[in-house]
């Protein structure tokens, strides 16, 4: 407790850089808010109330006995059950187009990734293939759909599947090439030392090491693509999105609620299944014998 000691106590490191960074960040956010002149901020307080009210109506739709007839529909025979079935069928279409899109992405990204990884390809190939991956990733699915796929395939789920598929090549390619580069180089070297060709090296030493992680990524991408397929519905490229767009914009909350619940349930089910499969692929198989 002496006032002055021989060794000077070090000063704490300055805090002002953090303060400045924090203030700058808040400044940027405020400027961003300011620049949005037609953001009707004054409507913000109304959101909770109105959303709750809509949610209540949605819940009504969901909880009504499926045999009942909704009011105000032109077809008097229509039941809530019809809405459920229709939503299920369209959601099935969304899942199907996401699956096909993922397959297309996997099919093309897999071989390309070997031409983009530093461990398996020369620089002259790597640079253009990586550019291609990045370029594809930078174009949103909706633009791919609008400019290329809709003219080709028309207002069909095929258009959505191909838009998602091409877009997925970029992100899957990037992840796959990272998996290839993360492979343990020592077994590859051993195979090289045994006189293997480029392809033999890849088939016997690289692919066995990176395949499980890559398949897990495919499944993960499938989950992402199911969500992405919703947006494609807005431009009528297939799936549940188109009807959801129409119904919610028409403020058919009961109908919309049923659709949202179907989306939630199917998505969660697919996610759980996919997560279980991914876990199994990455960890579970460790203990079982495999064929050569």
């Amino acid at each position: 407790m002496s006032s002055a000691t021989a060794t000077t106590r070090p000063k704490p490191p300055p805090k002002w850089p953090y303060t400045v960074a924090g203030l700058a960040l808040i400044g940027i956010v405020l400027v961003a808010g300011w620049s949005l002149d037609d953001a009707k901020w004054e409507r913000l307080p109304q959101f909770p109330g109105e959303i709750l009210q809509y949610a209540g109506q949605m819940l009504d739709g969901v909880l009504t006995w499926p045999g009942g007839h909704p009011e105000g529909q032109s077809d008097p025979d229509l039941t809530y059950g019809d809405w459920w079935l229709q939503a299920l069928k369209l959601m099935g279409e969304s899942v199907a187009l996401a699956w096909i899109g993922t397959c297309v992405g996997a099919l093309f990204s897999f071989p390309l990734a070997f031409l983009a990884a530093s461990t398996t390809a020369p620089l002259v190939l790597r640079v253009p293939v990586r550019l291609f991956f990045n370029a594809i990733r930078a174009v949103p699915e909706i633009l791919l759909a609008v400019i290329v796929m809709l003219p080709l395939f028309g207002l069909n789920p095929m258009a959505g599947a191909m838009a998602i598929g091409i877009h997925s090549i970029g992100s899957l390619g990037k992840l796959t090439l990272e998996n290839i580069e993360a492979v343990d180089p020592r077994p590859v070297e051993a195979v090289t030392a045994a006189g293997a060709t480029w392809w033999q090296r890849i088939r016997t030493a690289v692919i066995p090491q990176m395949m499980p992680e890559t398949v897990a990524f495919w499944l993960y991408r499938f989950e992402v693509n199911i969500r992405a397929s919703a947006i494609l519905g807005v431009v009528s490229a297939g799936g549940i999105g188109a009807l959801l767009n129409r119904v919610l914009r028409g403020r058919e909350w009961e109908w919309g609620g049923i659709m949202l619940v179907v989306i939630i349930i199917v998505t969660i089910l697919v996610d759980q299944l996919s997560a279980a499969l991914r876990h199994r692929i990455l960890h579970g198989a460790e203990a079982t014998a495999v064929a050569a």
């Binding site: 960040l25 940027i28 956010v29 961003a32 808010g33 620049s35 949005l36 037609d38 953001a39 409507r43 109304q46 959101f47 959303i51 809509y54 279409e93 899942v95 199907a96 187009l97 699956w99 096909i100 397959c103 990045n134 370029a135 990733r137 930078a138 174009v139 949103p140 909706i142 633009l143 400019i147 290329v148 003219p151 080709l152 395939f153 789920p157 095929m158 599947a161 969500r227 919703a230 947006i231 807005v234 431009v235 297939g238 959801l244 767009n245 919610l248 914009r249 919309g256 949202l260 989306i263 939630i264 998505t267 969660i268 996610d271 198989a285 079982t288 014998a289 495999v290 064929a291 050569a292």
Partner: protein, 274 residues
């Protein structure tokens, strides 16, 4: 495996060679399941590549327009495109900031390290429900209240809370338990534990997730406008409905450049963080 077996004089009993086991039923099941799923999905969406050939002339016509983009849209900073782009950027910035801030708190409630079991279980299932709806669905509901950037911001904020909270909660799960035990031993409160040991430990990861969702938000806010939630998406729908491919091409170029620039920036920042 003894060395005795190495000397393999003729006539000496040979070690039996095991038969090759059949491939694991799980592998077979997995492959067959994937094939079946693909066949069913292909049938469900009427998979056919024939239109590529039939409609090729149509596509080339469009691409001809696309390769002559409306440069004025790009070069004129007061064009509709740039105004919409600024709106998109502002939506992404605000949604990332607000969403990430809330997500940090939610993440603390969503990990068994920092929250009591009942709380983290409830938080986790609510979060997974929130994540199961695409950002699009939120935007569609919110535009019913009001159109413009506000519903876009709200939709993305919720989307961000879902992702950042999940990833951060997983990081919290993986926090080194040593310092936490030390704090518990010193009689720290839940809040003190979080502030002293958990938040500092996950901060670099958290920051990297925030940058990641910012990237996603730029892409997503481009798209959300398609349902009237502000930003470039609204323009995309306008030009699409008018079949104005020259202007659409201009939109593609700008989005392309902005997205790649932000990717590079965030990659650079993330590399410095971790």
């Amino acid at each position: 495996m003894s060395l005795a077996t190495l000397e393999r004089a003729d006539g000496a009993p040979k070690q039996v060679r095991p038969a090759k086991p059949p491939p694991s039923p799980l592998l077979i099941g997995g492959v067959l399941g994937a094939v079946a799923a693909t066949v069913v999905a292909g049938w469900a969406i009427d998979f056919s590549l024939a239109p590529v050939i039939e409609q090729w002339p149509m596509l080339t016509m469009i691409l001809e327009e696309v390769v002559h983009p409306e440069w004025a849209e790009i070069t004129d900073p007061s064009s509709r495109l740039w105004i919409a782009m600024k709106e998109t950027a502002a939506i992404a910035v605000i949604a990332t900031f607000v969403g990430s801030l809330i997500a940090l708190g939610v993440a603390l409630l969503g990990s068994k390290v920092s929250a009591p079991p009942a709380v983290f279980r409830v938080t986790k299932s609510v979060m997974s429900m929130i994540r199961s709806l695409p950002d699009m669905a939120y935007a569609l509901v919110f535009v019913a209240v009001v159109t413009g950037p506000l519903p876009g911001i709200l939709a993305l904020t919720i989307f961000n809370i879902g992702i950042v909270a999940k990833l951060t909660a997983e990081s919290i799960d993986a926090v080194d338990p040593g310092p936490l035990e030390a704090l518990d031993a010193a009689g720290a409160t839940r809040w003190q534990r979080a502030r002293v040991a958990i938040v500092p430990a996950v901060l670099p990861n958290y920051a990297s997730y925030v940058l990641y969702v910012f990237e996603l938000n730029i892409r997503a806010s481009v798209v959300l406008g398609a349902v009237g939630a502000g930003g470039v998406g609204q323009l995309i729908m306008l030009y699409f409905n008018r079949a104005d491919y020259a202007r659409l091409a201009a939109v593609v170029i700008v989005i392309f450049v902005v997205v790649i620039a932000i990717d590079l920036l965030s990659q650079f920042l993330r590399r410095r963080l971790v």
